[in-house]
Every structure is written in structure tokens, then in C-alpha cells.
Symmetry: C2
Subunit: 216 residues, 2 copies
């Protein structure tokens, strides 16, 4: 079997998003050309990306929107709700807890941690904030989230991720600017808004567009 390019996997999420729109509009059938017009790729690329994972279409007809959407969700692992655990209930943390998009796209915060004892025990967005030091104890008992969302201060980030990894978690969405050091089997996504701003600065300065045409 051929190696699937990472970028193809990422585009799958984009196709799913567009299919979701079509499904809501009541569209039942779509072609790769139509899907391409919605943005993100050219028709050949869409067909090729899909072909990495199976044969989802009907020759001469196209793709059935609902079937393809369900198939893609299964492939991406988003045919379920993923539970998020927040670390650091500061300004950013609170904003993330209230982010409607997460809920809508199948993500849901089910735990929140902070090290500040003034915050621990309070209820934020319906979640009781627990103490960061207790992650391992809490997680081993309840296994009540799948992905750690790191929104602590810079100085606490590494310490916090160490505890998260020690507790047995395997995936981290990192909003701190620190390059975290973790064992190889742990998945990390680093979010850095300033990188995106730099692309805008360069574009404004030189006039040549280096922005990403699609969300990252």
C-alpha cells in the first residue's frame, strides 16, 4: 500500500466540512468538480485523496453526500465525540471553554485543571476546576478525556505536559509558545498565532501573498 501524504489527511477534514454544508442544504449527490469549487483542492486531487482510503464514489454518477461524509468521519476518527481536558483556566482557557465551534465539530471539554487554589473548586462553563497536581490520580480513575489542551503560562507548560504524559494521555494541543519535550509516542500540535501574523506582515510589506488559502 502506498504511503498516504499527511497533507491528504488534513484535506479530508476540509472535504468533510464542505460535505457537512451540502448535507445541511439537502444536497444528496456531489461530483469531485463541485466539491473542488467549494475550495481546497482541484478535482483530480480530491479523487486521489479519497482513493487512498477506499472507493467511495460511483462512476458516471458522483459521490453520495451522506455516505461520503460518514465514511470520511470514520476514516478521520470523528464519528464519535472527543473529550478535551483543559489545563490552565486563564483568559485563553476560559475563551476555549466557551468556544462554540468545538461543540459543533464534535469536541467537548469534560475536565479543567489549574494550579491556582483560588480557581480550583470553582465552576467554569459548567466544569469544576480540579488541581493540576491531581491529573494522574483523576485520569487513572475516570479516563474522562482524550486530548489535553495546554493553555497554562509559559513557565508551567513543560511541567504540566510532563504530568499529562505521566498520567497516560497521548495527545496535546499546545497553545503555549514553548517547544515541549515529550516521548516519541505522544502526539503534539503546536498552535502559534504569531506565525500567522508574520505571514500577513510579509504579505503587507512585499505585496506578495504568502497567506494560507485554507484554515490551519
Amino acid at each position: 500500500m502506498r504511503k498516504i501524504p499527511n497533507i491528504a489527511v488534513i484535506r479530508l477534514a476540509l472535504y468533510a466540512k464542505n460535505l457537512e454544508i451540502l448535507h445541511k442544504e439537502g444536497v444528496e449527490l456531489v461530483s469531485s468538480v463541485k466539491l473542488a469549487e467549494m475550495g481546497g483542492a482541484n478535482p483530480a486531487q480530491i479523487r486521489k485523496d479519497l482513493a487512498y482510503f477506499g472507493q467511495f464514489g460511483v462512476r458516471g454518477v458522483g459521490y453520495y453526500v451522506k455516505d461520503l461524509l460518514d465514511a470520511l468521519k470514520k476514516v478521520m476518527g470523528t464519528d464519535r465525540t472527543w473529550r478535551l481536558g483543559l489545563f490552565g483556566v486563564g483568559n485563553l482557557g476560559r475563551a476555549l471553554l466557551g468556544f462554540k465551534q468545538f461543540q459543533e465539530r464534535g469536541f467537548c471539554f469534560t475536565a479543567a485543571f489549574d494550579r491556582d487554589m483560588d480557581i480550583v473548586g470553582t465552576i467554569v462553563s459548567g466544569l469544576e476546576v480540579a488541581q493540576s497536581e491531581d491529573v494522574k490520580k483523576i485520569f487513572e480513575n475516570s479516563k474522562n478525556f482524550d486530548i489535553a489542551v495546554l493553555a497554562t503560562g509559559v513557565d508551567r507548560a513543560q511541567e504540566c505536559v510532563d504530568r499529562v504524559v505521566d498520567a497516560g494521555l497521548r495527545a496535546v494541543l499546545n497553545f503555549t509558545p514553548i517547544r515541549l519535550v515529550v516521548p516519541p509516542r505522544i502526539f503534539i500540535e503546536n498552535v502559534d498565532f504569531t506565525v500567522r501574523l508574520h505571514a500577513l506582515c510579509y504579505s503587507l510589506t512585499t505585496g506578495s501573498d504568502v497567506t494560507h488559502p485554507h484554515p490551519r
Copy 2:
């Protein structure tokens, strides 16, 4: 002159970040090999990326950290402070206003807008919140920011960006999940956390790592 790949421009920001670290550590000289070890690219790629923009090194010696850093900042347009205007002073907006990383990396909020009259007129993070409808009037008088940061609700996003464009702004960092429609000369960066979460889901589900090794 050869076409410069967008990705090379993006990597420049990464190199600058690493050079900043070296500079703070008091390191004066660095080789492409050393820079590569700090992450982000292999030595040949670093030399090639830099070569798109000029000859910054000394053969047999390496790159002078401070000189290269200054040169890169100039190239990227970050040898100055960029002023940000916030649209939407909700949870996310407030979190962004308080984000220390922006300040540290040469970005600074100098204006804030909201359409909610309860918020307009209040001071948030030292900024008086103005009314969104007044962007054009305010901007044409003061020209007091360079980049619009869009953190409004979904339903107001397009309307808001229309006003921003009409006022004469050319760059937008978009935190809403909407695909904004703008004239071709406008630069837009779309930030979507859920895309990053999807990469984690796929990795967790299949075991094959499709995460980005470097911040985006």
C-alpha cells in the same frame, strides 16, 4: 529571479525565533548545521531559504547571529511593531488582548471594537472599546492599526470584514469559522483550532502521526 516558495518565507519566521534565542544566550556565530539542530529544517534547506533573500553568511565561518536576525526581520517586515485592531471583545477577544506573546513578538493591540453598546466605551486591557460601525470614520482619521483581528460571532463576521475592507485595511487574522469573501487585494489568514484537533484525532485513531512538527 526565481520564485520564492511560500513555505520558505514561513520558515524564515522559525529561523528568526531560533536566532532570537541564540542572541539572548549571547551566541554570536552560528552555522546552518547548528541552526538545523534547533529544529525546523535541514542545513541545506536553511542555506537555500536564506539564499533566496541574499548572502548573509561568511564561507568557512558561518552566520553572525545578530546580523542575520536583523536581516531576516527586515525581509519579513518585522523590524517594526505592527498594530492590531480587535473586532469582537468577547471571551476570545479578551484573551487575545491579554496575550503576552503578541507584545513580545512585535505585535500590539491599539484599537478594539464591538457592536454591543454595553461594552462600547468601557476600557479593556487599557483600550477604550469603540463601536464597530465607526471603523471607517475612526480608521480614516487615525490610521492607528495595520491588521484587523476578527473575533466576532459567526453571524457578524462577514458584515464586520466588509466594513474593515471598506475602511481601507488590507490584512485580516480571522478567528471565526466563516470563509470570508473579500476583494483579491486583501490578505486573510484563517485560524481554525478544530483542524489541528482533527490531526490529533486521526493520529490517535490510526497510530500514524500526521501532526505538524512545527507551529503554525
